[in-house]
């Protein structure tokens, strides 16, 4: 049996530490200029949102009727609105609201959706059929209508908006997770886990789910942009964030009637919304290409 040790010694390779592995992967991700751009932009947006109280030159609710509807000047770089509030400060605080609500929505959707999808895919059979039919019922209702109806019934508090927006995310995460779990479940190492006597709970959450993480991350990134847009839509329609708390959607709606006269009212929050959407969508594409170089779409 000496042959075995020599044969095995030949294909010995060095296994780099986890940290250097991550660094290498990250460097590869950043090797694309588009990824640098989208990651930089999202980071910048999060920083702006986080540091809004520090950066904002004025409190977002401070009114100044004497200086209402001022075009961009050095004191108010994005101008002021109908009651003289500083648009720049309100856009920054709006970013805070939009991003935090989007993150919460994604978190709720991801946590529940992944759980539902994983259990459904892993159990299979009747449980899977029932869960997936319920998911499909929710998917058949247009997202914005569902959210509108829920907020109209429950009331436009941030908590209920998050709830209304996450229901559809739950179904999306559930479907993607179920698909991934179905694929991983059929692999031999899952059978090997059963052979060594592991419980189903442990197999699912320690062995199957970690191997499904790729498409889930991609979906979470792509949905960030969607959720921000949906929240703005709700606010635009008056069922989202209520005055005086700033939200891009409400600000765009407020400037809507003065669009020809004072375009900066809608232009700046709209521009930020556009950049945010662009950043998250590009980031989502980048992450997808990075995690799956063959370029299969996940949604």
């Amino acid at each position: 049996m000496t042959i075995s040790s020599t044969a095995a010694a030949v294909d010995q390779s060095t296994s780099p530490s986890l940290r250097s592995r991550f660094a290498k992967n990250f460097a590869r991700f950043l090797s694309s200029p588009l990824n640098c751009f989208s990651l930089g932009l999202t980071t910048l947006l999060f920083l702006l949102a986080l540091l809004a109280p520090v950066i904002a030159p004025y409190p977002y609710e401070q009114i100044n009727p004497a200086n209402s509807l001022s075009p961009p000047t050095w004191e108010h770089i994005m101008g002021t609105d109908q009651v003289g509030r500083d648009i720049f400060s309100r856009v920054l605080y709006g970013a805070r609201i939009s991003l935090s609500m989007a993150v919460m929505t994604i978190f709720v959707g991801l946590a529940s959706g992944v759980f539902v999808g994983a259990v459904s895919g892993y159990l299979g059979g009747v449980a899977d059929e029932v869960i997936m039919r319920v998911v499909e019922i929710f998917m058949s209702i247009p997202g914005i209508i569902l959210a509108l109806a829920l907020v109209a019934v429950l009331g436009p508090s941030p908590l209920f908006i998050v709830l209304a927006l996450s229901i559809r995310r739950i179904t999306q995460f559930a479907r993607v997770t179920r698909g991934a779990v179905l694929g991983v479940k059929a692999l031999d190492y899952v059978a090997a886990c059963r052979v060594i006597g592991m419980s189903n709970v442990r197999i699912l959450f320690f062995h199957v789910l970690p191997n499904c993480i790729g498409p889930i991350i991609v979906l979470a990134t792509v949905l960030m942009g969607n959720v921000i847009l949906l929240e703005s839509t709700l606010s635009f329609l008056g069922l989202g964030i209520q005055e005086p708390t700033p939200s891009w959607g409400t600000m765009i709606a407020a400037g809507n009637e003065l669009l020809t006269f004072a375009p900066w009212l809608s232009l700046f929050p709209g521009g930020f919304l556009f950049l945010t959407m662009l950043a998250f969508n590009l980031l989502g594409d980048g992450v997808r290409d990075h995690l799956d170089p063959r370029g299969a779409s996940v949604i």
Binding site: M1, D188, A192, C193, N211
Partner: protein, 331 residues
């Protein structure tokens, strides 16, 4: 341990699968036993039920569509077909372990070798993570992985197929099982690695005194490792004998055909004319839902007589310790 007392015994095992046209029988009235320290070879072609029957031992048959519809599997005074799910989970990996065919996919790609090896040890032996790692290290040395300490932190994709199969074997041996079921453990490996793995299995068996059930379609593997052989055809056992008896004098026409289908280098090269054609068993295994009423092999058997078509032969002792299910006496 008493060498003559079976450690695992299957009695009249019967499994069925649900298909579009009802239940079909995949394993029909299968009985065999294996003693401690013994290697039982189960040989047969694809779909003959050899893997299905070994999955049943650990109750790993996917249900649905499969089900065990009859028979008993005795292990240490317990019928494994009836024990509770928690009990069978304690047995899996601890007392009866299994090695699969495909080493490339039997390891979790996201976990280090060490962590995966620790899982059964921590579960069944209640060791701390540190002690389990120590044991994992010993196991890697046991299966002759060089530089074992380094590989504890390695990932499966860094290993070759042969090394992975060693890790899979190490994982199966982690809790010193009494029975090891190896389901075509060398099929996916090339021949030199195959020889190493078989030698390793044999050596470990001698050292640990476990029973090994070697499921394979390769008579070469059987010759190398088995003590006793069960030949399966279309879901049932057609012949059972010691490996010497079986290779010296196969008594079932199917086994006979299998041996004749092994290419013989002399007969190909010695004749002056065209090389002789490789012998084959004519026809196909009948579909599980279209079994002939008599002997299942009757459709392909060169020695078929009228009785074979009407009546199903039962297993009888043709010579001491040599059983075959055939009406005829092959010479």
């Amino acid at each position: 341990m008493d060498m003559d007392k079976p450690i695992l015994q299957l009695q009249g095992l019967r499994t069925e699968f649900k298909t579009g046209s009802g239940w079909v029988t995949a394993v029909d009235d299968l009985s065999y036993s294996v003693n401690a320290g013994e290697t039982l070879g189960i040989v047969g072609e694809s779909g003959c039920g050899k893997s299905v029957s070994s999955l049943c031992v650990l109750r790993l048959l996917p249900e649905p569509p499969g089900r065990i519809s009859g028979g008993e599997i005795w292990y240490g005074g317990e019928d494994l077909t009836k024990v509770a799910e928690t009990r069978i989970r304690d047995i899996r990996g601890n007392e009866i372990a299994m090695v699969f065919q495909e080493p490339m996919t039997t390891l979790n790609p996201l976990m280090t070798i060490g962590t995966q090896l620790c899982e059964p040890i921590m579960k069944h032996q209640g060791l701390s993570r540190k002690d389990a790692m120590q044991r994992a290290h010993e196991l890697l040395q046991l299966v002759r992985i060089p530089d074992a300490r380094h590989w504890l932190k390695g990932y499966p994709h860094e290993m070759s197929g042969g090394m992975r199969q060693r890790v899979v074997i190490a994982m199966a041996l982690a809790c010193s099982p009494k029975v090891l079921i190896a389901d075509e453990p060398t099929t996916a490996l090339d021949v030199t690695i195959q020889a190493q793995i078989l030698a390793l299995l044999k050596e470990l068996q001698d050292r640990l005194g476990m029973a090994v059930i070697m499921v394979t379609h390769d008579l070469g593997v059987i010759a190398e490792i088995a003590d006793r052989v069960v030949v399966m055809y279309a879901g049932s056992k057609v012949e059972e004998a010691t490996v010497e008896d079986l290779f010296a004098r196969p008594r079932h026409p199917y086994t006979h055909g299998l041996f004749r289908a092994i290419p013989d280098i002399d007969s190909i090269t010695s004749s002056e004319g065209a090389p002789t054609r490789l012998e084959e068993i004519p026809g196909m295994v009948p579909a599980l839902d279209a079994m002939p009423s008599g002997c299942p092999f009757s459709t392909r058997c060169p020695f078929v007589i009228e009785r074979c078509l009407a009546e199903r032969p039962i297993l009888e002792e043709k010579a001491p310790g040599h059983f075959a299910a055939c009406f005829r006496e092959l010479s």
